[in-house]
Symmetry: C2
Subunit: 222 residues, 2 copies
């Protein structure tokens, strides 16, 4: 299977790229607006894999080219680039492709970080409005601490909350999540349930800011 | 110390009453609008303690009388009764009393449960507007599954997220939380960080609805 990580040069893109390269046989396509940046990132990711004595298949492309080739497209971009990124690749999406959004909208004030959904109600709803009609959209990977996930020596027991209106796509993304050692996928229903998942990320950041030794946190429901 | 649970005949009131009676030496004052209901609830809670071969000090009162006597007042009422309940007891609050809100505002639609904050921005902000000036307010106990917490044979590893603008009050409520075996208190900063904590409760309910065997969940940040 081929997985495109659009904006794959960012923190969560890097984390998912090296983890999937390490734990799966899938071909990872790192996308960026500038393909040279994508190729530079791939060099770094390959060095990470090499240092951990593991290998994988990662290639760098422009976002459009990565989308062209992919079965699964992860929108690993900031929330404010989500609609633009989708617009740029919309005509490259295969009919049976699955688009995944891990994006979260936050604002910061003196007290801490806060969930800041767009007028559509959630970042996911914004993505749902932006993708071509009939596109299968799944939400996942919002609440994973990218730095710790990218460290192949790190261990954790985390849940990723997966939502979407297509059960089979949701199951496929859940399997991909659980291919990463220490990650459990938990179904939270349809796309309408996105906001509460997205809102969990600023909470984790606030906890990290308020408590020494509680950094790079994830969540386990039990 | 004396702890009043206003609306202490409800699910989270029952859970905190039997747990604190069991794990601490504090005097638990169960409050209700109707003191006869409070006394009936206390009879049930004492039977629960008895069945678990433990004891504690629990008494039933009208909310006003419970507040009169209390060092800590927990607003264990539904969000839509929060302002009314505060109004009813406001002139009974001791100057150094700590008021605790565990209340969450939710709405339900076909997809699931959703966070439904009042215009003030969070249920906590609504409580902050309703308490007399100078009252110390702390948020805690939002995301604990009441049924499992009330079962003295149940075990769990849960976090309760504690926030407020008075560090010493926050520390006192955190100690009270951690008096319950299996509960860890985690500081999330000031009252302005309430909404993300309150929003976690509908997420836990959605997970319970979507997944067999995942009921009465709490959360552990790790």
């Amino acid at each position: 299977m081929r997985i495109a990580l659009l904006g794959g040069t960012g923190e969560i893109g890097e984390a998912l790229a090296v983890r999937w390269a390490h734990h799966t046989d899938h071909e990872i396509l790192v996308g960026s607006r500038d393909p040279a940046n994508a190729r530079d990132a791939v060099d770094r990711y390959e060095a990470t894999l090499d240092a951990a004595d593991t290998t994988g298949t990662i290639k760098g492309f422009a976002n459009e080219m990565a989308t062209d080739r992919a079965d699964i497209i992860v929108l690993a971009v900031p929330a404010y680039h989500l609609a633009d990124t989708i617009d740029a690749v919309a005509d490259r999406l295969a009919d049976d492709a699955i688009v995944v959004t891990p994006a979260v909208g936050m604002k910061r004030d003196e007290a801490g970080f806060h969930y800041n959904p767009p007028p559509a109600g959630s970042v996911t709803a914004l993505a749902a409005d932006a993708v071509p009609e009939g596109t299968t959209l799944v939400g996942a990977f919002h609440n994973l601490a990218a730095g710790r996930l990218a460290d192949l020596d790190a261990s954790f027991e985390w849940d990723t909350l997966v939502f979407g209106n297509d059960s089979s796509a949701k199951a496929q993304i859940s399997r991909l999540a659980e291919a990463i050692d220490g990650v459990r996928a938990v179904d939270v229903g349809g796309l309408e349930n996105a906001a509460e998942v997205e809102a969990l990320t600023p909470l984790l950041i606030n906890v990290a800011q308020e408590n020494e030794g509680m950094h790079q946190l994830g969540v386990r429901l039990n």
